[in-house]
């Protein structure tokens, strides 16, 4: 596949410095077209940093990042990408309605005039079961509902590559199942998916490849079932999670 089509994400020798500390160290990451890849690791291991570097949000200190075979800073490649950030950052001081937030997903490097009335906006909201709340400000939603709106904002772009940072964070189990089913449909239709997860959860059987990070380095790139057992506390000291959060995360059953 890789001989005829470039990888949708190709990060080579990527290093990122933050606050004088190396949070990514010579990392390679490759996602082929149509793959569903999970990025795993303890808190502070560098998962989100790698994700952001891969889509061009964070600059690399060294190394290269390519999207669809083109340098990541070339903005046209971003039109084929749907991105769901870690937190519901889409809040601001003047909260947008769900419809407005999703309509902003229609914007691209060359399309600066989205329409809130575009039927694709409602279709994307329906896909995540949020059409009924289209006029609700997103700050008046639960965390799970906001995550679904953010996923709809990515879906409305009809992306060839979906990149998500902890989409199950703060989301109840029924909603996790709903989102997982969406991912299965998208994956079956050929959409490439790169997802940062704390726990593989409902996607355990669907993940085609797992990349595990530890202290900013890739320690596993292969089948999810074969990933190494990590211990609580692994990761970057700045981002170390409380022990009760670490317990149950990334600890693969023996």
């Amino acid at each position: 596949m890789s001989e005829t089509m470039p990888a949708v994400i190709e990060v080579s020798g990527a290093s990122v410095l933050r606050g004088g500390q190396r949070v990514l160290d010579e990392v390679d990451l490759r996602v082929e077209a149509g793959e569903l890849v999970a990025l795993l690791g303890a808190n502070g291991s560098g998962k989100s940093t790698l994700l952001r570097a891969a889509v061009g949000i964070l600059p690399l200190e060294s190394g290269t990042a390519r999207l669809f075979g083109a340098p990541v800073h070339r903005s046209t490649a971003h039109d084929r990408l749907g991105y769901v950030p870690q937190d519901s950052a889409e809040a601001g001081s003047i909260p947008a309605t769900a419809r407005e937030a999703v309509a902003s997903g229609l914007l691209g490097a060359r399309s600066w005039w989205p329409s809130r009335r575009d039927e694709r906006v409602l279709t994307a909201l329906e896909a995540v079961g949020m059409a009924d709340l289209a006029s609700r400000p997103i700050t008046r939603m639960s965390g799970g509902q906001r995550r679904r709106v953010m996923i709809a904002r990515a879906l409305v772009r009809e992306p060839e590559l979906l990149v998500l940072d902890e989409p199950f964070s703060g989301v109840d189990l029924p909603t996790q199942e709903l989102i997982s089913e969406l991912f299965r449909e998208l994956s079956a239709a050929g959409t490439s998916i790169l997802v940062v997860l704390h726990e593989t959860g409902p996607l355990t059987d669907d993940i085609q490849r797992a990349v595990v990070l530890d202290h900013g380095r890739v320690v596993h790139d292969g089948a999810a079932a074969d990933r190494p057992r990590l211990h609580p506390g692994h990761g970057h000291p700045e981002d170390a999670a409380p022990l009760d959060q670490c317990l149950g995360q990334e600890i693969h059953p023996a």
Binding site: S75, T76, H78, L81, S104, L107
Partner: protein
């Protein structure tokens, strides 16, 4: 007693009236983005820098023996506030921790520069009073033309590109991942703020320009939800307050800037009251996944 016909036929009143409508339309457009970016005080900083520009314009006017002496005051304010806006955006981009310090430096440097330079130009700080607090009597035809051009620019960019500007101000991370021109948008908003400060300072005054950007937006937030509705409602509030304030000062000898800003504050208080007495909206149960439809993309 001045009749409505006098207001429309007298240049002394017609020019301020035109500018008041333009301020009411433009200030909340820019203010909406500034509130969204949590940069509500940017307009204040730029207002102070514009004073230095006024004094510089006066100085250049003195050199070339311009008549009237403040012929270049508004062009000077325009240049200074645009440069100040670009500087503050540059500082904001390279350092997230010192932007409030940078704003403070704009405040102090701007007002001090204005007082010192006006003295060098042979004037006194009294000459700046009209620009600090606003004045009807100083509005000229040239001011009206400059203000109209600036207002059209602000409205075309601020309203025409509202989808792009609101997307970037709401979530820069998503905007960058989507390939949107984040840096260009941030610079655009800063420059729009500078243009609005310049066109507003004649009537509202440099010290109160920012209020007309921010307070109508705060008032609108009490009444409506959503970004677009907040902007439209704020524009309506600001136009009513600008026109209303100006008309009050036609009949009562009061400073227009102060009256206009007090009206916007009254609108905000009224908004708070309306919000308090309005029946609370029922919040539907949350957490359920609800019905979903196929999300299969159309490649």
């Amino acid at each position: 007693m001045i009749s409505p016909l006098d207001i429309l036929t007298s240049d002394l009143l017609r020019y301020p009236l035109i500018i008041a409508v333009l301020i009411g339309l433009t200030a909340p457009v820019v203010g909406t983005y500034l509130v969204q970016k949590r940069l509500s005080l940017l307009g204040d900083g730029l207002g102070h820098v514009a004073l230095t520009g006024v004094a510089l314009g006066w100085l250049v006017g003195a050199w070339i023996s311009a008549s009237p002496a403040d012929l270049l005051a508004i062009p000077g304010a325009l240049a200074a506030s645009v440069i100040g806006a670009l500087l503050i955006e540059y500082v904001r981009e390279i350092s997230h921790t010192s932007r409030d310090v940078a704003l403070a430096i704009l405040f102090y440097g701007g007002i001090a520069g204005g007082v010192v330079i006006i003295q060098l130009a042979g004037g006194t700080s009294q000459n700046l009073m009209g620009y600090l607090f606003g004045s009807l009597s100083t509005v000229t035809a040239l001011d009206t033309i400059i203000s109209s051009v600036l207002a059209v620019l602000v409205l075309v960019i601020g309203v025409g590109l509202s989808g792009l500007l609101s997307a970037v101000t709401a979530d820069e991370e998503f905007a960058r991942a989507s390939g949107l021109p984040v840096r260009l948008v941030n610079v655009l908003i800063a420059v729009l703020a500078a243009l609005t400060v310049t066109l507003s300072m004649r009537i509202v005054g440099a010290l109160m320009v920012s209020a007309l950007m921010i307070v109508p937006v705060a008032a609108a937030q009490q009444l409506v939800v959503g970004f677009a509705r907040t902007m439209r409602t704020a524009m309506a509030i600001a136009v009513v307050c600008s026109l209303g304030g100006l008309l009050i000062t036609v009949y009562v000898d009061l400073p227009p800037g102060g009256v206009i800003v007090l009206l916007t504050v009254a609108a905000y208080v009224l908004g708070l009251v309306v919000r308090a007495v309005r029946p609370a909206q029922r919040v539907p149960a949350v957490g359920g996944p609800g019905p979903a439809r196929s999300a299969t993309p159309h490649h």
